[in-house]
C-alpha cells in the first residue's frame, strides 16, 4: 500500500455514543479529499482522531506506512500532518507574521529562514498587508486565512482543513478555493471538512460522506451529489454544483 493516510476500522465512543463507528478510508498522495456530512455526523471527531487530539477507542491510523495511532498532536505535526482549527486559535499577542513563523520553525530552524518562509506563505494567501498586525485584532475571515497560512508554513505532506470557508465573503471563498486547488501540485495532500459545499464540490478530487459516524458514500463529487443516501442524509437538501 502506498497510501499517505489509512484510517482502518476506527471507532470512537463518548460514553455510550459512537461518534465514529468503524470508519475506514485511504488517501493517496496528491489527492484532495472532501470530507462532508450533516451536523453531528462525526466529522470533527474523525478529524481530531487523525490530528492526534485523542486516540481512537479502537482501530488504526497509518501515515506513510507508519502506525501513528495514539500519537500526540505535536508528533503528528512532526510526521508531516498539519491542521487548521474550525474556531481559529491564533497567538493573540503576536503579530500575524510571528504567528506563521512559529509554524515555519518546524522546517526552518533559524529565525531568518523561518521569517522568509512565513513571508512567502503570507503573500501566497494575500495576508501580506496584515503581517505586522496583532493576530488578536484580526477579523474572522482573516483569522481563517491565518489558520491556513500557519498550516502551510509547516510544509506538510498532508493538511487537514476544518471549515476554512466559514465566515468568508464570496470573493474570499473564490481566492481561497484557488489556493487550496493548487496544493496537490505542490506535493501537499488535502483532507478538507467543509460546510460551504459549492467550493469543495468544485475542488475536491474525491468525496467521503459520513453520517452518524459511518461512511455512507465515497467517490467523485458529481456522483456523490446524486447518491440517494447522501441526499437523504442532508434531509433532501439539494447539493448545487455551482
Amino acid at each position: 500500500m502506498s497510501a499517505l493516510l489509512q484510517v482502518e476500522n476506527v471507532i470512537h465512543t463518548f460514553g455510550a455514543t459512537r461518534a465514529v463507528d468503524d470508519v475506514s478510508f485511504a488517501v493517496q498522495p496528491g489527492e484532495l479529499v472532501g470530507l462532508i456530512g450533516p451536523n453531528g455526523a462525526g466529522k470533527s471527531t474523525l478529524f481530531n482522531l487523525i490530528a492526534g487530539v485523542m486516540p481512537p477507542s479502537r482501530g488504526r491510523i497509518v501515515v506513510n506506512g507508519a502506525d501513528v495511532t495514539g500519537w500526540k498532536p505535536y508528533e503528528m505535526a512532526r510526521a508531516g500532518v498539519a491542521r487548521t482549527f474550525q474556531i481559529p486559535k491564533p497567538y493573540r499577542q503576536l503579530s500575524v507574521i510571528e504567528n506563521v513563523m512559529i509554524s515555519a520553525f518546524l522546517q526552518e530552524p533559524t529565525v531568518v529562514a523561518a521569517h522568509e518562509l512565513a513571508d512567502v506563505t503570507l503573500t501566497d494567501l494575500g495576508l501580506a498587508p496584515y503581517r505586522d498586525r496583532l493576530a488578536g485584532e484580526l477579523t474572522v475571515g482573516l483569522l481563517k486565512r491565518l489558520e491556513v497560512a500557519r498550516a502551510l508554513a509547516m510544509r506538510p505532506k498532508l493538511v487537514l482543513f476544518d471549515e476554512i470557508m466559514a465566515g468568508l465573503t464570496p470573493t474570499e471563498v473564490g481566492a481561497m478555493t484557488e489556493v487550496v486547488a493548487r496544493l496537490p501540485e505542490r506535493g501537499i495532500t488535502v483532507i478538507w471538512v467543509e460546510h460551504v459545499l459549492y467550493a469543495i464540490m468544485r475542488t475536491a478530487t474525491r468525496m467521503v460522506v459520513i453520517n452518524r459516524g459511518s461512511v455512507i458514500a465515497e467517490g467523485a463529487p458529481a456522483a456523490v451529489a446524486r447518491d440517494p443516501a447522501v441526499v437523504k442524509a442532508y434531509l433532501g437538501e439539494e447539493i448545487q454544483l455551482a
Binding site: Y74, A82, T110, V111, A128, D132, E137
Partner: protein, 337 residues
Amino acid sequence: MTVTPAKTSAKTTISGLPQRGRVSWFEIILLAVCAIWVALGLAPTLQDVVVLSFLFGGLALAWNIAGGCAGLISFGHAAFFGIGAYTSTILFQSYNLTPWLGIFVGAVAAALAGAVLSVICARLKGPFFILSSLAFSEVVRIIVLNWSSVTGGAEGLSIPPVPDLANMVLGSKTAYEALMLAYLALAYAITRWLEASRIGFYLFAVRDNDDAAAAAGINPLMVRSLAMAMSAALTGIGGTLFAQYFLYLDPTYVVSPELSFQFALLPAVGGLGTAIGPILGSFLITPLSELLRANLGNAAAGLHLVFYSVGLIIVMLYFPSGIAGAIDKLRQPRSPP
C-alpha cells in the same frame, strides 16, 4: 529579523512586546545610566537601595521568563530563590566550596526543581497553576524549617563577614552594586536573546495558545519545563547573590510567599513579557518600598505597607499593561481602526 522591510501602512504596535529583536536606545541608555550610577558611588543608605533595585530587577526578569513569556504565572519562585541561596551557602559552609562555583550548583538545583514543578503541574493552567506553585514553595519552606541539621532550621544560616573576593564576600557596597548590575545585565541579555530566538517564540506560542502550538509541532510540556527551568536557574543565582550580600539567610524571608509575590509584582508593574518592563518595575517599586519602610517604619509600624499597596492598586488600575506598555502607547498613538 528584519529580512524584508515592512511595507504596510496599517502598522500597529505590539503591546507588551515592543520592538522584539531590535535594540532600543532607551534601554541601552537606561543600562548605561545604571553603570554610571555605580561608578560614581552614592551615599551609603542609597547604595543599599541601588543594590536591591539591581538584584530585584534581575529577579523580576528571571520570573518574567516563566510568567511573562511562557504564561506560567508562578507565586512560588521564592522556592527557587531559597534553593539557590541555601545550596551555595551550605556548600560553602560544609564543604568550603566557593560561592563562585556554588552559585552554579544552586542554579542547577533550582532548574531541576523548576522542571519538576512544571512536569507535576503539566495539566494545570491559570489559577490552578498559581495555587500549585504557591503550595510547592510552602513545601520547600517547611523542608528548610525542619531539616535543621542541614539548613539551620528557623535560626537560618550565616556567612562570616570577612571580605574575601575568592568567597564572594565583597569589601564595599560599590562592588556589590557592580555584582548585582552584572546579574541584571545577564538576565536582560538572556531575555533579549530569548525574544529573538526560536525557543522564545515557542514560549510565546505556549502562552498564547497551547493547542495551536502543539499543532505546529511544539511539545508544550517540554517548552514549559524549559521555561520554568531557565527562570528557576536565574532566580537561584539571584538567591546566592542575596545570601552573599546579606550574609544571613532567614528562612521566614528567603522562602516566603511575600517574596514570591514581590517577584511577580515587579514585572506586572513594569510590563509583562517585555525585557525592559521588569527592570522598570524594580527601579520604581524597590526604592519606593525601601524608602517607605525607612521613613515610616518607626512612625507607625506597617504604615509603609499601606502606602505601598495604594500605589500598586493605582498602577494596576491605570496601567494594566505596565509602565512599558504605557510608554509604548505614548510613543506610538494607536491608529484608528
